[in-house]
């Protein structure tokens, strides 16, 4: 099947298409030929292994929504050596719409970044009906997927290629967190977190650009900058471009925070401050913000921050305001805040913070 027909069938122009972050697979007659409950000798379909691997390297995650016997299906995936490709597989007798929704929630991404592939028109229709934002594909479209624009991310960075590993580490973390009894701070203390804040280097800029495009919820303004613009900020004496990374005992989260500060003689302005959703419950955003407060205080300047609401980023306004910023002006959804720098919370003792200048 050729791609242009599909694009028309979905009634979307190329520019409207959102990049897919997770592809959810059906199993019987999609991932493999045959029905597992009828025959144990199902064969992997041609092109499946290549598609899994190609998309994985681009940082696109895989999951499963299949009506099947869970243990039997997982055993078969292990036999094929594919089980580590799939995050939060939903193999049960519930509706696939419920399964797909649960996957998006577990991974913490919007439904418009999810694609679903299934050979059964009924299942595709049910998922599409429940969640119109989701792109659905017939299993016959498998071979063309990797060439479609929505499966070609604008950026492929070191972090993209390791994205699956990082999410698998998250699965382990969540399991550990669920089993932990006690306040969340005590759990955080068991993680052995190391948070690094550094001036962005040239090799960080692709990831920085990717973060500005991918991050919506934990993003104060949503300003996006090109590689060239970011590179200019990096070299500019009037700007501060910092990137943050996090590791813990389960592994690395990669580079998960970015901020751009515009430095004028009397006033510094935080133009952009964002954190990856994967670290939402780790308390590191506040540590990053407090670092900026300290820098401004030491420089003897006033510190302002811009905030632009996109209806999904209220958490960042809460972070600013509860962190001591006060609104100084407002124009519709655009707010300017200022911090008087007289109270800066000390760093908590459950995390190691390294500042690389």
């Amino acid at each position: 099947m050729t791609t242009p027909q599909i694009a028309i069938a979905h009634g979307q122009s190329e520019t409207e298409k959102k990049t897919v972050k997770v592809l959810v697979w059906d199993l019987d007659n999609t991932l493999w030929n045959g029905t597992l409950l009828e025959s144990d000798s199902v064969q992997l379909r041609d092109g499946v292994r290549a598609a899994l691997d190609t998309l994985d390297k681009r940082g696109i995650l895989h999951s499963i929504a299949s009506k099947n016997d869970h243990d039997l299906a997982m055993e078969k995936l292990r036999e094929f050596g594919l089980e580590r490709y799939f995050l939060y597989p939903q193999i049960n007798w519930n509706s696939k719409a419920a399964g797909v929704r649960s996957i998006a929630t577990s991974i913490n991404i919007g439904l418009d970044a999810v694609a679903f592939i299934d050979d059964e028109p009924y299942e595709r229709e049910e998922v599409k009906h429940a969640m119109p934002e989701i792109a659905v594909f017939d299993s016959s479209e498998l071979d063309s997927l990797a060439d479609r624009t929505e499966f070609i991310p604008a950026f492929i960075t070191d972090d993209s290629a390791r994205r699956r590993e990082m999410y698998l580490a998250d699965v382990e973390r969540k399991r550990a967190e669920e089993q932990f009894i006690g306040p969340s701070e005590e759990f955080l203390a068991t993680l052995g977190m190391e948070f690094t804040i550094a001036r962005a280097q040239e090799e960080d800029l692709k990831r920085a650009e990717e973060l500005t495009v991918r991050t919506h919820q934990l993003n104060t303004t949503g300003y996006t900058y090109s590689f060239e613009e970011l590179n200019a900020f990096r070299a500019s004496p009037n700007h501060l471009l910092l990137i943050a990374g996090l590791t813990d005992k389960f592994g690395s989260y990669g580079k998960i925070g970015l901020t751009l500060v515009e430095k004028n003689p009397e006033v510094w302005t935080i133009k952009l401050f964002l954190m990856s959703c994967r670290v939402m419950s780790r308390g590191v955003g506040t540590i990053f913000m407090n670092h900026l407060l300290g820098l401004a205080r030491d420089a003897g300047v006033a510190l302002q921050a811009e905030f632009l609401s996109n209806n999904r980023n209220r958490m960042m306004l809460i972070t600013y305001k509860m962190g001591g910023f006060r609104e100084v002006s407002r124009d519709g959804d655009f707010i300017v805040l200022q911090h008087d720098l007289d109270r800066i919370q000390p760093r908590p003792d459950w995390i190691d913070v390294e500042i690389v200048d």
Binding site: P183, S184, E185, M280, S281, G283, G285, T286, I287, S309, M315, M316, L317, I318, T319, K321, M322, G323, G324, R326, E327, I335, R343, Q345, P346, R347, P348
Partner: protein
């Protein structure tokens, strides 16, 4: 009514500040590290528990600094809207 509200807030906060008897006028920001997740959970708790929406301009940390201040915010919100708590 107000004492009951304060007790509910105190009970919620006790999950975060364990082994500490939080007083009504005690500054929670001075007590320990208040991160954005706790802040969000606190905002969501107050909105859900007492049935109102906290506007952007009310998110000021002064309103959340002590149990007393939170109670005063609830009082302003609910009496203005005529909501029974």
């Amino acid at each position: 009514m107000a004492d009951n509200r304060k007790a509910r807030i105190k009970e919620f906060l006790s999950r975060f500040f364990r082994n500490h008897e939080l007083k009504d006028d005690e500054d929670i920001f001075a007590l320990g590290f208040v991160n954005s997740l706790l802040a969000l959970q606190l905002v969501n708790f107050l909105e859900g528990e007492f049935g109102f929406t906290i506007e952007d301009d009310e998110l000021d940390f002064e309103n959340f600094r002590t149990i007393q201040n939170m109670d005063a915010l609830i009082e302003r919100k609910t009496s203005a809207a005529g909501v029974a708590v």
